[in-house]
Symmetry: C2
């Protein structure tokens, strides 16, 4: 496991970077003030961040009499980070500078039949070739890859996968061979990358007990405690979608009965809408969920009743993990949350007091992710940035995040 | 929040103490070998533990030519720790020496009508007077008190309580005034104290992700991550008893419907047994649960079917938190577990694969607590010992637990 001093370093680095990205150029005393770190700790970290090429000196500031203060900024001309989101029907790439601005973005369409590791490696190699052509003069500092399914992070193994019929594929090794890249590769599943994204670049920074609810085709809840992604014993933590809320509920795609995912994953929501009387058909579940959101807005009865039913199940499921984990903040994200969050959240807020213990409810904030960024990809890149920042040796005190 | 270096210190101290209690006298190099700490760290910690009166020098050992090695042992003649378990019908006291051996034990019976803080304070003061009389010549290092219900640890407040109709009572302050004790008082609820007991003196030491399932009148699951009790935002984590496994299930004493506690807390189990055809009556639910265990052993049909039904609900509930938290070890404790664990666990093991994801199941160990000790009280004393050990300044490397 990672050492506590490494955890503190990462928190301190991300805290400084966040403040520097939000407002730069900044001086060392400014950063100390904003992060709550000592000036000595900030100075040590800044020296190492400059050596690593993450931070650059960006002019001088009059200090009111004394020696002028050096100002600092993110090194936007330095190395780049690549985030990759591998899904069943696409592979998306984003390249970021160290201010986390997107330099280049590309997407490969994947056919559902392309279900072998080799076919996916073809798509990743093809996308990466385009990224490297566009950014030929930039050093790649790290590549973060989000895969669906179960991932063994230390071994770089794609253990299993709900969509493709493969097991225990040494994906990271295959990818490294295929790409011939000097930069390190970080593999994880999308629940973990999106949680890393929220933790470092979303609403999660400084939250001691964070829960990130991802609503999509599947559902899950990413956890981060004490400024650190909580993975569990086998990186399988957060499989909330396969917790039971009703032993007599519908059968889930995992084969079990009564999983919350069978009710509030996109297919489950659309089944409920059909049961409420909607008999239209759509090409994709994405367009169907958008249509449900539109119908709810105009007050169509089946849509309104569907949202009520989904919010009821969502409240049961959210209450179950809130009673267990007692988080400070629950953030809702994912494409279904983007489409239906506005409809679901007020109803969820109304229902939670029926299910959450008073002691946990008082401290609880819930909110929609309002970032316009793709948190799965940004989070994958954040894992690569974590790896890069782990080269820093300084420890120092602990940042107020 | 507690600093990470303090967390590491505590882990190191408890690791050393555990090894010292299991096998003493031991030399510093022995302890370094067993704990995985450097000899320098062990030496620094030992010096401070001797200053604190926790450890004593206990003779010399030939080191094969060089200077003889000093041997160390727990200071059984030093200060004492007191654990108190406050429940609806009793207050139990145990006084421990620093080898965690029970020096004195006493119990006060509490009438159900004695439901005011003042009446309880009377009982605690009465029990403590007896403890102090017997151990008049011993310094009390700390008093750990387990209360039912919701406890604000930092404020020492009994926030709310399922059994007594009180709210926001400054119990720690009242207790300190009443006892006039020099030693610090540590207040927490029984789920947290029992988890602290398992973490430091039970099966939990060295387990990175520990879950302690308490089965009694109520049920809960105490969590400890990374060698530290996980409390949640408001010390309300672990309220597993009030997670929903069936929205059409029976009404719980908390007023909600479908809580797992309503099915597998002692009253729920006895209701299920009655529904299976048992029409006997008992004076206490404890004797009823014992009778159920006896009937199950002799293969009585209603008892066997009740155990099956309870194991089915238990499997759903355990799977729900295992899928979410992905622990390394689940320990079952509490008086219902003591009586029925032997019946429930094989059935639970058989059913878990139907509900727990394969990735989490592979790493999971489940076991009954086989300690003969009262973990609620020992855990309360462990919180007092934590407080005492927190006076130590050394940090050093991290023990292999």
């Amino acid at each position: 496991m990672q050492s506590p001093s490494r955890d503190i370093r990462l928190r301190n680095c991300f805290s400084m970077l966040r403040h520097l990205l939000a407002d730069h150029p900044s001086s060392r005393p400014d950063l100390a003030k904003k992060t709550g770190l000592s000036v000595a700790t900030v100075s040590n970290l800044v020296t190492e961040l400059i050596d690593l090429g993450v931070v650059v000196e960006a002019g001088l500031e009059d200090s009111g009499g004394g020696r002028p203060r050096m100002l600092l900024g993110p090194n936007t001309d330095g190395g780049v980070l690549i985030g990759v989101d591998v899904a069943t029907t696409y592979v998306k790439f984003e390249a970021y500078d160290l201010a986390l601005q997107v330099l280049f973005r590309i997407e490969e369409q994947v056919d559902l039949a392309e279900d072998t590791p080799e076919k996916l490696l073809d798509h990743i190699a093809s996308g990466m070739a385009a990224v490297r052509e566009v950014l030929a003069d930039r050093e790649i500092l790290g590549l973060g890859v989000s895969l669906p399914g179960q991932v063994d992070v230390a071994g770089g193994i794609s253990v299993s996968n709900p969509n493709w019929n493969w097991r225990d594929v040494a994906f990271k090794e295959l990818l490294a061979e295929r790409l011939g890249l000097d930069a390190p590769i970080y593999l994880d599943n999308s629940l973990k990358t999106v949680t890393a994204g929220e933790l470092w670049f979303g609403d999660g920074l400084g939250v001691e007990r964070l829960a990130v609810v991802v609503l999509g085709t599947g559902v899950g809840v990413g956890l981060a405690f004490d400024g650190k992604l909580y993975r569990g014993a086998t990186n399988s933590a957060g499989e909330w979608g396969h917790t039971t809320i009703d032993p007599n509920g519908p059968v889930c795609r995992c084969g079990r009965r009564g999983c919350i995912e069978a009710r509030i994953g996109a297919p489950g929501i659309l089944r409920q809408w059909a049961a409420m009387g909607c008999d239209r058909e759509w090409e994709t579940q994405e367009s169907a969920i958008e249509a449900l959101a539109a119908d709810w807005k105009t007050g169509e009865e089946p849509a309104v009743r569907t949202i009520e039913a989904v919010a009821r199940d969502l409240a049961l499921g959210v209450a179950n993990f809130v009673n267990l984990v007692n988080p400070d903040l629950v953030v809702f994200t994912g494409w279904v949350s983007d489409a239906l969050g506005e409809a679901l959240l007020p109803e969820l807020r109304r229902r939670l007091p029926d299910h959450v213990l008073e002691s946990a409810l008082g401290a609880l904030r819930i909110k929609l992710d309002e970032q316009s960024r793709n948190m799965v990809i940004l989070g994958a890149a954040a894992l690569a940035l974590e790896g890069h920042l782990n080269r820093i040796k300084s420890v120092g005190s602990r940042a107020r995040l």
